[in-house]
Amino acid sequence: MVENIFVGFAEWLRSLLAAAGLPALFGDIVLMIVKVAGILAFIAISVLWIVYMERKMAAYFQARIGPNRVGPRGLLQTAADMGKLISKEIIIPRAADKIVFLLMPVLIFVPSLLLFAVVPFGKNMIAVDLNVGVFYFFAVASVSTIIFWAGGWASANKYALIGAMRAVAQMISYEVPMVLAILGVIMIVGSMKMSDIINAQQNVWFIFTQPVAFIIYVIAATAETNRTPFDLLEGESEIIAGPFIEYGGMGFAMWFLAEYANLILVSVLATTLFLGGWLAPFGLTFIPSWVWFLLKIYFMIWVFMWFRWTYPRIRVDQLMNFGWKVLVPLSLANIFVTGIGMFIYRAIGW
């Protein structure tokens, strides 16, 4: 069965280890390692693929054809780029805080990796199905703000400093409406467990019951992932690359890839919360749940790319105004309306 190919593999592995006479704890540990390895492989491959996809999509939106020289249809372009970036010399500015400067590009991956633990890839395909899944997601995701800031600060460059400050301001401001928007969904579900949220969408996806929340979420997520029109901390036409300006070679590649890992994560969350997660639409259940999940997150990623290659960049004060004066009140209003709606719903007692 394609549907249960991964779950089945896990069961088979566990039974194999049990048959070999090993204790259950050891089986769990091995299984955990396999899961982590699988997720890491998924991240690595999808990040490489998404970089390629972004370049290809950018090209198609711009009437070009994009990378097409390395490998068939340019598929190995990102791999070749990575090869180049790895082989480059690591340049550390003299004034930079060496340890922080070198540590941050490595650390930036840690929150992303931690977050993948709660990603519901398919039916019964969550590494850890925490009962505070969404909360955990936001708590860990916020940490990356500090890493962006520390990386920019350590570079001892004014552009990096401006970019880092913008990163902090922007990410914190947009975390608020994002969390408030999701609160609507959590109110309806009554649980923060990822699998519960998905199962609550059996009948109707939350994009239809919570459209405002979805729009707020998409906007805030664009800001969280620093993509156009909210790519202020990179802002290549004003502060060039923001916090990453002094990074070259693999240091830069790490930041770059982490951005794409974050892009996957926000798409995952959008899919889980609003697009029904692994649930198949129109009863098309013959397609496995994890395929549906991948399709949905790639659709979300594509939408983010579409935004990026269409829109110009907003200014920093406008960004703040928009976040605090439009999105936050709007998301609060959404919670209010959701609350009233739920009250009426229960009062009628459908």
């Binding site: 090209a59 198609y60 939106f61 711009q62 009437a63 070009r64 054809i65 097409n68 579409w306 935004f307 290659w309 269409t310 829109y311």
Partner: protein, 147 residues
């Protein structure tokens, strides 16, 4: 109103996603060049009377002509263009009354070393007597013998 322009932009980029792409895959395919294209120079040695009009017309002193006297007649013995200074403005071609110096359609003029850049269009032996040494090398062959 608010949002309309944003949607319009999305619509335009979505349309472009499906239109024909304009990229030309250069080494494999190339665009047709205009007949007047200013490419590399060719010299019709038979036509050249070594009058130096081209060298004088050049704004940047790119052309270096060597001549020798043969029976009171000037004969071309060397024609070199220092292409690193060339503006490709076409004033030399325009100055030539005989149509000896012309543009070709060749535009791939990159060289690996700086000393390969000067374009030697003609390098002949100084004529000994009569019209013997004048047959020289033609332009096409001269390209291969760059120093």
């Amino acid at each position: 109103m608010f949002g309309q322009g944003l949607l319009k932009g999305l619509q335009i980029t979505l349309q472009e996603l499906f239109t024909k792409k304009v990229t030309v895959q250069y080494p494999e395919e190339s665009l047709p060049l205009a007949p007047r294209f200013h490419g590399e120079f060719v010299l019709d040695v038979e036509q050249c009377i070594a009058c130096s009009l081209c060298a004088n017309a050049c704004p940047n002193k790119v052309i270096e002509i060597e001549t020798a006297k043969l029976d009171k007649k000037r004969v071309l013995t060397g024609y070199m263009m220092r292409l690193q200074y060339c503006l490709f403005c076409g004033l030399c071609v325009e100055a030539c009354n005989k149509g000896a110096i012309r543009f070709s359609q060749k535009f791939e003029m990159a060289k690996y070393f700086r000393d390969q850049i000067p374009l030697i269009l003609y390098k002949g032996e100084p004529p000994v007597q009569e019209e013997q040494g004048n047959t020289g090398i033609t332009a096409g062959e001269a390209e291969g013998t760059e120093v």
